[in-house]
Amino acid sequence: MCSAFPSLRWLAVAVLAALAVSGCERETRRFRELPATATAETAVRLSPLQPGPPVRQVRFKSAYEDNAYATSEGKRLFSQFNCVGCHAHGGGSMGPPLMDDEWLYGSEPENIFATIVEGRPNGMPAFGGKIATNQVWQLVAYVRSMSGLLAKDVAPGRDDALYGVPQEQATTQQHPVESSRPPQAEQP
């Protein structure tokens, strides 16, 4: 086969030689290490556990925590980005509930921001690069409002359309003709 492609043999030799040469390169030792400063204090902290004496954490300040307009924008975006499909209106569905007091990945604004942008391994998609930063912060404000972490005058109102009529147990008597209810035979 190689005789039919004489150039291939030379190419193979060249590639092998290149591999051999590059394989001989030794790892260079670093004589000047990186400065041994502490890791950034501002990193988003996901765990309350920290070894050794407590380290001060620099808090993010979300611009929207006390802004009713931004929070209601967050509510609108929560539906438009299909968050509502997984978390319902806070009660959860395919995703966990957001209106309760259990936070798998932290309840601070920076935690929720990171969760939205980075995604989480058990099914939360990574929305980084898909939603503008200010809109993520608006979503963060709305998510926190659902579990009462924002002031009441900031949190948007609940949609009452579906909840309005107390008809849960009421049953209409009218029933389409030709579609009679199956005879409810007596319990045996």
Binding site: F5, L8, L11, A12, V15, S79, Q80, F81, N82, V84, G85, C86, A88, H89, G90, G91, G92, S93, M94, G95, P96, P97, M99, D100, E102, G119, P121, N122, G123, M124, P125, D159, A161, L162, Y163, G164, V165, Q167, E168, Q169, A170, T171, T172, Q174, H175, P176, V177, E178, S179, S180, R181, P182, P183, Q184, A185, E186, Q187, P188
Partner: protein, 615 residues
């Protein structure tokens, strides 16, 4: 220059293509093989015929037999002695999500697939409770984020020394029963398009039939046939799109004239909406060896909000009859044209040979989400009858002339408004939970709901890999206040013979036996045996968690009859417990939480197999 990489790639490709080792079938496996893919003509007469029921004390596929009867000829456990039934042994699956699977029994081994992470346990029936091996497919964790209704799996399928099952992240896997080693694995879908796989495969003539899930995520539905020996795709039939992709060709002869136009899978949609239009095939598949046709249903169209998809939305919420060899459609029928309420058409089709108005007729029985029990001629696709088995406000019946269900206009959802008291609700009169048929009583045993709903359609955006629904909904009990029933149904007369009311939806499968006992489970954890003729309760046992699994029966290595069921609440109806949803939001869990607020007081999470036998 590009030749070397090409050559390397070619070598890799050849290596990768080397055929998986064909297992040498052990005498035991040969003796117990039920659905065969040996393609030997002599095998044909050994296939279960539609009404025979599970063969010889085994349970090789989720439905028990090709006809989906869930009937077993075993009769050691009878209506007279079932009261003495005791727990023989138990096994913890190790996973605490909804256990919808049917345990599969072949030879001296039982195969149980857990919910995500879809571990396949092979349990030694001669040494109850111990595993021969466990196989872990390790599906990606992120798949849980696109599973609409808990991370369930509905069971495996056994054929010729292999067990086949699906993983939540869209792999079909074949495992050697002797070694527990993977023989092949085929990746069939993409979670980034919202796809998952939850259904139990069916093995027919050397092909493994599998379908996808994701009707709530704008997934385009399909049924795929894989070569059981290699895992190579033999054919794939989409539910929407051009006839060339739906595999509708010369042989396609739907019964109703309106269905005979070409490319309805495109023309009955606005623009390209069929590409994200649902029609997933996540239910059970049945097979008639005499007609050589497979039958299966397709899911709701996406999104739920019907305003954005004018047209019939073919072939969602439909049934296909296909040739298992090449997938070509022979007939199709749409249960719910332009579905308004998430009324999937995936419910199982039970193949029966009935005396119909004085003449024997090959039919299939199907209890649809829309509240009607259909009897359909399975050779032609003609609807012979459609009778209500649930309180219905949303439809006026089925026009047998055109085959079309008649929606009630006042109950049609409109974007931006709330429509109340729609019955049946979105999970329908009956969801996936399969019914059973007893040839002795000639009755169907239908596990179902009694729920109505309020439905608010909203604007909706398609973002691949996220829900594509466009509706806020909440469910509540229908007339009577109970949420579930088990009904005995006479398909010939088209009427209910008796019904048992249950507080919660009956989300478990059913099992009928030659001992005239019917088994089912409740979401508050009662496993019940009732008299197949009268419905009288004969026995009950409280399991550790709610039951949404499929009861099965088999003959153990000791020759005795056993009944097995998985307990472990979850699924769509039980997500309030399995996923810890918050009942303060009525729309949680796709609206189901509103109807299940009290479930957490009656059961907790579980994942336990219970096997019962006579002392």
């Amino acid at each position: 220059m590009a030749r070397v990489p090409l050559a390397v790639a070619a070598i890799l490709a050849v290596l990768a293509c080397s055929e998986p080792r064909r297992d040498t079938r052990s005498p035991q496996a040969a003796a117990t093989a039920s659905p065969s893919f040996g393609a030997a003509p002599a095998r044909k007469d050994t296939l279960p015929s539609p009404e025979v029921g599970a063969r010889d004390g085994e349970w090789p596929m989720a439905s028990g037999d090709y006809a989906n009867t869930r009937y077993s000829g075993l009769n050691e456990i009878t209506a007279e002695n079932v009261g003495k039934l005791k727990v023989s042994w138990t096994f913890s699956t190790g996973v605490l999500r909804g256990q919808e699977a049917a345990p599969i029994v072949a030879g001296r081994t039982m195969y149980v697939v857990t919910p995500f992470p879809n571990i396949l346990h092979a349990l030694d029936l001669a040494n109850p409770g111990s595993t021969r091996w466990s196989y872990e497919p390790k599906p990606v964790s992120a798949a849980q984020g696109v599973a609409c209704c808990d991370v369930v799996n509905r069971g495996a399928a056994y054929a010729d020394g292999r067990v086949f099952f699906n993983t939540l992240d869209n792999h079909t896997v074949a495992v050697d029963v002797q070694t527990g080693k993977e023989l092949w694995r085929a990746r069939l879908g993409d979670i980034n398009r919202g796809e998952t796989m939850t259904m139990a495969p069916l093995v027919v003539k050397g092909k493994v039939l599998v379908g996808n899930s994701g009707g709530e995520l704008g997934v385009r539905g399909w049924l795929t046939a894989l070569d059981a020996a290699t895992g190579n795709v033999a054919w794939r039939a989409y539910s929407t799109g051009p006839d060339s992709q739906v595999l509708l060709g010369e042989r396609f002869k739907p019964f109703y004239a309106a269905d005979r136009e070409a490319d309805l899978g495109v023309k009955s949609w606005p623009g390209d909406a069929w590409r994200i239009g649902g029609g997933t095939a996540w239910g059970f598949v049945s097979y008639d060896p005499d007609l050589d046709l497979v039958y299966y249903g397709t899911s709701n169209p996406g999104p739920w909000n019907p305003d954005v998809r004018p047209g019939d939305n073919k072939w969602t919420s439909s049934i296909f009859a296909r040739d298992p060899d090449d997938g070509q459609g022979v007939w199709a029928y749409q249960w719910n044209p332009h579905d308004l309420y998430d009324h999937d058409g995936i419910n199982e089709n039970v193949l029966l040979d009935l005396d119909w108005q004085g003449a024997p007729r090959k039919v299939l029985a199907h209890a649809d989400r829309n509240g009607y029990v259909y009897v359909v001629d399975r050779t032609s696709g003609e609807v012979l009858s459609a009778r209500p088995f649930h309180f219905i406000t949303a439809y006026r019946g089925v026009d047998l002339r055109t085959g079309r269900v008649q929606p009630v206009p006042e109950k049609a959802p409109k974007t931006g408004t709330v429509v109340r008291m729609i019955c049946p609700s979105a999970p329908g009169a009956k969801d996936w939970q399969p019914m059973a048929w007893s040839p002795r009583t000639r009755l169907l045993y239908i596990p179902h709901q009694n729920l109505c709903m309020d439905f608010e359609s909203t604007d909706v955006n398609y973002i691949a890999g996220t829900p594509y629904v466009g509706a806020n909904v909440k469910y509540y009990p229908g007339p009577g206040g109970h949420r579930g029933e088990l009904s005995a149904w006479d398909p010939v007369a088209g009427k209910e013979v008796w019904t048992l009311k249950e507080s919660f939806p009956v989300w478990s499968g059913t099992l009928a036996t030659a001992g005239d006992v019917v088994f089912y489970g409740t979401m508050d954890g009662w496993f019940k045996a009732i008299h197949a003729r009268t419905g009288a309760e004969l026995w009950r046992f409280k399991t550790g968690s709610g039951i949404i699994g499929q009861p099965v029966t088999y003959r153990g290595p000791d020759g005795k009859q056993y009944v097995a069921v998985l307990a472990g609440v979850g699924g769509w109806s039980g997500a309030i417990v399995a996923a810890g949803l918050d009942p303060h939001d009525s729309t949680a869990g796709g609206g189901f939480v509103n109807a299940m607020k009290d479930l957490p007081r009656h059961t907790t999470k579980g994942g336990m197999l219970y096997v019962f036998g006579l002392p």
